[in-house]
């Protein structure tokens, strides 16, 4: 089973996506299931996890609804207000919610994750059996590490290998430290839009090991730098020497385990 553990849908005509400016401007149009579906079929992807792209409970509900009507969507990583009553918000959500994410790297405070009003929310996410997706860059890695250590029973998913910069010493040290934290897994996603995609895939795989790595395309953001196929190929470039079972972890089993996709039922 091959799972694309990271993709997005949006329609900027229906809601604001404030980050879709500058280099991201080409993404300012509708991207829906009908555009992704032929790509999944062509590259034999069995299912996907769709991930939030704006801090809004409305979007989380929309994505959960979309998952209900889109057979290939196996799970949703949605947004909830971590500083609010997380239990109450989660109770009102229906559908295959498998994780929670906040666009932490867009917050001015690089210790946002450690804020006293956010930490209890992260604890509730873990207690609900959901994964927490870390969308961070180098400057937020220390807070991400501290958060992962404070919540050892919660599984954290590092998105896009923390977006490797050209000057990568601090990035490497930070990601390596996260890899030493057993409750953190890594998404081999968003690679072509950052520095040295093939080398990043190889290093992340070495640091985390295949059982703690999962493939994700980051479609349609990936289209800024490559084609859908390249997001799979770059992971392949790192998998060359691995056994069939190790490959299976990276290409689907890790995502299925971490996001409990089996419990959601494979509907692809």
């Amino acid at each position: 089973m091959i799972v694309d553990a990271h993709q997005h849908f949006w329609d900027p005509a229906r809601a604001e996506y404030p980050w879709m400016t500058g280099a991201f401007a080409p993404l300012h149009r509708r991207f829906g299931p009908s555009e992704l579906e032929p790509l999944l079929r062509e590259y034999a992807i069995d299912g996907t996890v769709v991930v939030q792209a704006r801090p809004s409970l409305d979007e989380t509900r929309e994505l959960l609804e979309l998952a209900g009507t889109t057979p290939f969507v196996l799970g949703v990583v949605g947004w909830v207000d971590l500083a609010g009553d997380v239990t109450a918000q989660l109770e009102r959500l229906e559908g295959p919610l498998v994780g929670v994410r906040h666009q932490v790297h867009d917050e001015p405070d690089h210790d946002w994750l450690l804020r006293p009003d956010v930490q209890p929310g992260i604890a509730v996410v873990g207690e609900a059996g959901l994964a927490y997706d870390l969308l961070v860059r180098t400057r937020e890695l220390p807070a991400a590490l501290e958060t992962a250590r404070r919540h050892p029973n919660t599984t954290f998913v590092l998105d896009h290998v923390a977006k490797r910069p050209r000057e990568d010493a601090a990035w490497a040290a930070g990601v390596h430290a996260l890899a030493a934290t057993p409750n953190v897994v890594c998404k081999l996603s968003g690679l072509f839009t950052e520095w040295a995609p093939a080398d990043t895939a190889a290093r992340a795989l070495e640091w985390f090991g295949p059982e703690r790595c999962m493939f994700g395309s980051d479609w349609p953001v990936c289209l800024l730098a490559c084609e859908y196929q390249d997001t799979l190929s770059v992971v392949e470039s790192a998998l060359g020497k691995l056994s069939a079972s190790e490959r299976a972890h990276v290409l689907g089993e890790t995502a299925a385990r971490v996001y409990s996709l089996d419990r959601q039922g494979t509907r692809a």
Partner: protein, 289 residues
């Protein structure tokens, strides 16, 4: 130098250099090449804006990595616009070189390439000398690539690279052919003296030597057509087809380790392998010079 074998496959036509080629046809070209014993494949980001690398990588995915030799190139970064690929941008800086090669690995789905070549730095010699070549030398030191060099359609600048840098090989396209011997004046003797391996590409001069009417990627001028007719007649007198002479001619120089042929179909691969294997009369070469 790496054992490329005498005949390698150039992959520019796989991405539709002259006319569109579909996925299945491209796949059959590489499959047939492998079946017929070809082990060396040359590609570049520029060919079809990544398409040649993707198709080659897909076709090689199930092949044991040690069975094939792959070269790709640096010097153009692929950056898409709002409506798909807008193209390849020259950049011979150190950073762009490192980035370009890593992105090529990503498109190919390989963890290494064997040979990395600076691609067409005709108007960027100083930049390539200051950026791309030191970057490639570093990658060679780190073992990411085994050999480095430059690939161009001219012999003069390749000679400068051989004299002024520590490259292992050059890919000279169209300048060491039965029709155009300009690389024979300086580049080839220099490479032989320095132990730099020469890969000869464009051995049909963009098709004019294989029965087409294209020379240097454009319609062949009249003088070229007349010269080709002479060569065809000379070859025919020895019972040899001009394409056979064209494929085999470059290998007659001691510095040349491999000839690249670009093929659009599996049939063309089989034809070129056949031509490369023919035994040609020595008298042909003395007359062709």
């Amino acid at each position: 130098m790496i054992d490329t074998g005498r005949l390698g496959l150039g992959t520019a036509p796989l991405a539709g250099l002259y006319e569109p080629v579909d996925d299945d046809t491209a796949r059959r070209v590489v499959d047939r090449a492998l079946e017929l014993g070809i082990r060396y494949f040359d590609t570049a980001p520029y060919y079809g804006s990544g398409l040649a690398e993707r198709r080659l990588g897909t076709a090689l995915r199930a092949v044991p990595r040690d069975r094939v030799v792959v070269s790709t190139k640096v010097g153009r970064l692929l950056r898409p616009g709002a409506s798909g690929w807008t193209g390849a941008y020259f950049d011979f800086s150190l950073d762009a070189t490192l980035r370009s090669l890593d992105e090529s690995l990503g498109r190919l789905g390989l963890d290494r390439v064997d040979i990395a070549l600076v691609h067409d730095p005709d108007d960027h010699y100083e930049e390539a000398l200051a950026g791309a070549l030191p970057a490639l030398a570093r990658l060679r030191e780190e073992g990411v690539v085994r050999a480095i060099g430059a690939g161009m359609n001219q012999a003069e600048m390749l000679s400068r690279f051989v004299r002024e840098t520590d490259i292992d090989c050059v890919l000279v396209a169209g300048r060491w052919t039965v029709l155009d011997r300009s690389a024979g004046e300086e580049l080839l003797p220099l490479c032989e003296e320095r132990g730099v391996a020469v890969i000869a590409g464009g051995v049909f001069n963009s098709g004019v030597l294989a029965g087409g009417d294209t020379f240097d990627y454009e319609r062949a001028p009249n003088g070229v057509v007349a010269r080709v007719e002479q060569l065809r007649e000379t070859s025919a007198r020895h019972g040899v087809s001009l394409p056979a002479a064209a494929v085999q001619f470059p290998l007659r120089h001691a510095a040349v380790v491999s000839v690249l042929v670009g093929c659009r179909t599996a049939e063309e691969v089989a034809e070129d392998v056949h031509l490369a294997g023919l035994e040609l009369p020595p008298a042909l070469w003395s007359e062709l010079g």
